[in-house]
């Protein structure tokens, strides 16, 4: 125990009434200050606003990035950085990808199904094995065998690398104080970055193609590996470690015989989460020319062939579910309460037998029934019959929310916006977070993408409002009606395991290509976790408090408004923070389906050589926007929101 925490605890205990009084005073102060400030900024906006659409006109940043690209292209085979570092990295990763790909190809489709079934059987039981076999067979039925194998081999390569890098780092981070402290903020930032933001720098350093895709995926997935591994190792019971130390274990013995085995369930969870993150990213890397199911989707979207996109989307969803089920159930078996029995060897043989039987039984060519044409028929029908309804929804949201918000944001001078972020950020989450957020805002302006960033921000804010309304409603309903929660929870679980890309498809099917499509996709993507957090927040309110309120004669509505929601505030604010980061990620991906703005800039940067600089700048702008939104909202949930003392 460090003495600092001792001292803090003392001060807290001693000055609790004084602190509470101070908080109350600051609340009263806020009640006066906030309206005044809001008024001041409204006046300032009215006086100072600039004509909408006037870009800051600064393309110096674009030119700079294009110059960087040109320099890299010119020196890729001569600069020592590339010659002795990055090119080798690229080469090594491509060897790995080729190796994994060759191994999967050597198995053949029948062998792959057999191995998947056998692995699932040994690791996770026969039920999961049935699911795995059915899921993998479906790739063949959908006519996507090759694309699925490509996606799988990219995912596996990225997972192998992430685990090889992430687990040792996670162990070290848990054991070596300064390393953990250094990694924490770095991982924080990496985890709020939308997947899109990783792509452009990767192509710069590693060109396009599979190695770049795998490296981008590793960067996206490895924070999760490190985080969860660190959590698992740090969570090992100190009494057990002490007992093993007292028996004379060496540090190495402590690691291999105590810490790692005891953390095994958490390590299995780390692998599970790494796989899910990797799969989600591998699909996106189709944008930098990685083969597989993502490529199918992008090609289909370009040709406005919703059916073909759905076909590939279904394959992705099935792959996500199978991989998730295998690893989740394997993790459950790894937990301490499930003890290995003597039948293990028997089980392995049985697994091998299952594989052999499957391989023998499978026909060489699968009958193919892609869902392309039925989905296209349905989509056309929807377009034809629901056009008025979907168009009306789209227009109402556009006129009521999107357009006014966008015109305000886009006509605010960037410096006024930055000052507003600084002032309100300080009020919400303290000057430190506000300063970071304001610097991020200024950085966006510096990149010369102010108007596009404001368009993206508008989309994010509108999606956020819709997500919170929907998430709160459903979350409250879930907390209230057990049966509804049990019935729909599997749906939420499934939704959370799906790669983000897939969410675009239903939105496109309903609303065509537009800004609003991205909003719909983002809402579908972000609602499940928000629902979950809201529900848990409300359910975690102690039963005794609710009982007391009821016995005082509160109506159910009063209990909700006056007791449950205020007490669940922490959960709600966390939901807002998580939701907004997810929404940004999705809105940016929406650039593929007509959402324009920063997301489109990134995509254009890949496809058109002369737009590379702008695309890379847009990638950085997305990063800055992510940091801005995260800092502003994280402050609410972690800072001086009044629940600090409960958390100590």
């Amino acid at each position: 125990m460090s003495s600092a925490t001792v001292a803090d605890a003392d001060i807290d205990a001693g000055d609790a009434p004084a602190r509470r009084a101070a908080v109350r005073a600051s609340l009263t102060r806020k009640r006066v200050v906030v309206p005044v400030l809001v008024l001041a900024f409204v006046v300032a906006y009215l006086v100072l606003r600039v004509p909408e659409g006037a870009s800051t006109g600064n393309t110096a940043a674009f030119r700079f990035f294009t110059d960087v690209r040109d320099w890299v292209d010119a020196n890729r085979d001569t600069s020592p950085l590339f010659l002795y570092g990055l090119n080798y990295l690229r080469f090594g990763v491509s060897l790995l990808v080729d190796g994994v790909g060759a191994a999967l190809a050597a198995l053949g489709f029948a062998g792959l199904v057999g191995v998947a079934g056998a692995l699932a059987f040994v690791l996770a039981g026969w039920r999961t094995a049935v699911l795995a076999v059915a899921g993998f067979l479906a790739f063949g039925v959908l006519g996507l065998t090759e694309a699925s194998i490509d996606t799988l081999s990219l995912t596996l390569s990225a997972v192998i690398l992430s685990v090889l890098i992430g687990m040792p780092l996670g162990v070290l981070a848990a054991r070596v104080g300064w390393l953990g402290a250094t990694l924490r903020p770095l991982l924080d930032v990496m985890q709020i970055l939308p997947s899109f933001a990783y792509l452009a720098p990767m192509t710069l350093l590693f060109l396009i193609g599979q190695p770049a895709a795998v490296i981008a995926t590793v960067i996206y997935a490895v924070p999760v590996t490190i985080r969860i591994t660190q959590l698992g190792i740090a969570g090992v019971a100190p009494t057990t470690v002490e007992a093993a130390t007292a028996l004379g274990s060496t540090p190495r013995q402590l690691l291999t015989k105590v810490r790692l085995p005891m953390a095994r369930p958490t390590l299995a969870l780390a692998v599970n989460q790494t796989i899910m993150m990797a799969l989600s990213m591998v699909v996106v890397t189709a944008l930098i020319d990685a083969p597989g199911l993502g490529e199918e989707i992008i090609r289909s979207l370009e040709r406005v062939n919703v059916g073909a996109a759905f076909n590939a989307g279904l394959a992705i969803v099935l792959m996500a579910i199978v991989l998730d089920r295998i690893t989740t159930n394997a993790a459950r078996r790894a937990s301490a309460s499930h003890h290995p029995d003597a039948r293990r060897r028997l089980l392995v043989w049985a697994g091998a037998a299952v594989a052999a039987v499957l391989v023998a039984l499978l026909p060489l060519r699968m009958p193919e029934f892609p869902i392309t044409s039925p989905v296209n028929t349905a989509s056309t029908w929807i377009e034809y019959h629901w056009y008025d309804a979907t168009e009306a929804i789209k227009n109402v949201v556009s006129t009521v929310l999107l357009n006014p918000a966008q015109s305000v944001l886009a006509s605010t001078p960037w410096w006024l916006f930055t000052v507003a972020v600084l002032v309100f950020g300080t009020l919400i989450s303290g000057w430190r977070s506000a300063l970071i957020a304001a610097l991020a805002a200024a950085g966006v302006a510096g990149l010369g993408l102010w108007v596009h960033a404001m368009q993206t921000l508008t989309t994010v804010l509108v999606a956020m409002i819709l997500t919170m309304v929907l998430g709160l409603t459903v979350g409250v309903l879930f907390a209230r009606y057990d049966r509804m929660a049990t019935a729909l929870r599997p749906l939420l679980d499934a939704a959370q395991t799906m790669p983000s890309f897939v969410y675009l498809l239903p939105a496109v099917a309903l609303f065509g290509a537009s800004r609003f499509t991205a909003i719909v996709a983002a809402v579908i993507y972000a609602v499940p976790p928000v629902v979950r957090l809201v529900e848990r927040g409300i359910r975690d309110v102690p039963a005794t408090v609710v009982e007391a309120a009821q016995s005082a004669g509160s109506t159910p509505g009063q209990v909700l408004r006056k007791v449950q929601l205020p007490m669940a505030r922490g959960g709600l604010l966390l939901a807002a923070n998580q939701g907004i980061v997810m929404i940004l990620a999705m809105v940016v991906v929406g650039g593929l389906v007509g959402a324009g703005a920063l997301g489109y800039d990134v995509v254009a940067g890949f496809s058109q050589r002369e737009d590379f600089g702008e695309g890379l700048a847009a990638g950085f702008a997305i990063v800055l926007l992510g940091i801005l939104l995260d800092r502003l909202t994280q402050g609410i949930s972690a800072g001086n929101g009044g629940r600090g003392t409960a958390n100590r």
């Binding site: 019971a237 130390t245 028996l247 004379g248």
Partner: protein, 336 residues
């Protein structure tokens, strides 16, 4: 009798720059003052004692008195701030990491309050852990472990896992694990506090039995006075990191060193702990006494019938020498 463990002016100070406390005027401050002044917590303050070979030495104190820190300092699970600890004459604080591991592997084992068993290993492999990390072969360590499991009465449970056992059984595993390496010293850190009272009594009996059978030197930490009196050859009472009194159960109950100890032992039935020595009065001049004397080491409770039945005071002997007499007048206050 040889000394197995010797502790000399041992200090453990937690907090920023703990070295500045010992040997300076700061060391004279009370715990609370030191904490307010420097932010340092003196968990163990200037503790000295010796434990003889084969003795059961109990350290007793309330929670926060520093007793668990003290026992961890003995094998440097917690690094002492200053002072000396020696086991079998070897200075523990000067040992290299390797030497220290050897000490922990072969000579001093510990039993913990929360057991500290490995949940992913069955009982047999838990008990064999200490032998495994020494590099013993599987057959050899399993044979020894099985013998220890039998010794603590867990035979038949070798293939079960810790979470399938009750608390008392888990602590028997902890005990067997500590015994498996055949150490000369056993350290117990409140081993039975997490168990319910009936099981606790069973386990105490178990420890007494094992002590009689295997004859180890034991240091036993507890906050339970009854446990201390039942097990201890000698008892050290700890308060705010310092030793208040060290003595036999009899000395503690009969002559508490201060109010703190007196408060502790107030509820103890004195007739069960004290011996006749404590109530003997000098014989009056030419006073007629019974013929059959009692040794002065007799526990009062056991002498009651004989003394009450006697017509005259009973003489009390220390060896061959008469040190005084006892009659009903002395006995009655003790058993009322």
């Amino acid at each position: 009798m040889t000394t197995t463990i010797a502790v000399d002016h041992l200090w453990k100070v937690f907090g920023p720059r703990p070295d500045r406390v010992v040997g300076t005027p700061l060391a004279e401050l009370s715990r609370a003052e030191l904490r307010a002044r420097t932010g340092c917590l003196a968990a163990v303050r200037d503790v000295s004692f010796e434990v003889a070979s084969g003795e059961v030495f109990v350290v007793m104190g309330l929670s926060g008195s520093g007793k668990s820190t003290l026992v961890r300092c003995l094998t440097r699970l917690i690094e002492p701030t200053s002072g000396e600890v020696s086991i079998d004459g070897e200075a523990v604080r000067e040992m290299s990491a390797k030497r220290l591991r050897d000490l922990r592997r072969h000579r001093a084992a510990m039993v913990f309050q929360h057991f500290g068993l490995l949940p992913h290993r069955c009982v047999l492999d838990n008990v064999a852990y200490g032998l495994e990390i020494q590099g013993q072969s599987k057959a050899q360590r399993h044979r020894k472990a099985a013998a220890m499991i039998e010794l603590v009465g867990l035979d038949g449970h070798e293939r079960q896992y810790p979470d399938q056992l009750s608390g008392g059984m888990q602590q028997r595993v902890g005990l067997a694990r500590a015994l498996a390496t055949d150490p000369a010293v056993l350290l117990f850190d409140e081993p039975f506090s997490a168990l319910d009272p009936l099981i606790r009594r069973d386990m105490q009996t178990e420890v007494k039995r094992l002590h009689a059978e295997v004859g180890k030197t034991m240091v036993f930490i507890t906050h339970d006075l009854t446990e201390a009196l039942r097990l201890g050859d000698r008892i050290a009472v700890m308060r705010d990191g310092a030793l208040v009194q060290v003595g036999t159960p009899e000395e503690l109950v009969g002559a508490p060193a201060d109010d703190y100890v007196a408060d502790f032992v107030r509820e103890v039935p004195r007739s069960g702990v004290l011996t006749l020595r404590w109530i003997t009065r000098p014989a009056g001049d030419g006073e007629a006494v019974e013929e059959k004397p009692l040794p002065c080491t007799t526990v009062i409770r056991e002498a009651v019938p004989q003394i009450l039945r006697a017509d005259r005071p009973v003489p009390v002997h220390d060896g061959d020498k008469q040190i005084g007499v006892v009659d009903a007048e002395q006995i009655l206050p003790m058993i009322s």
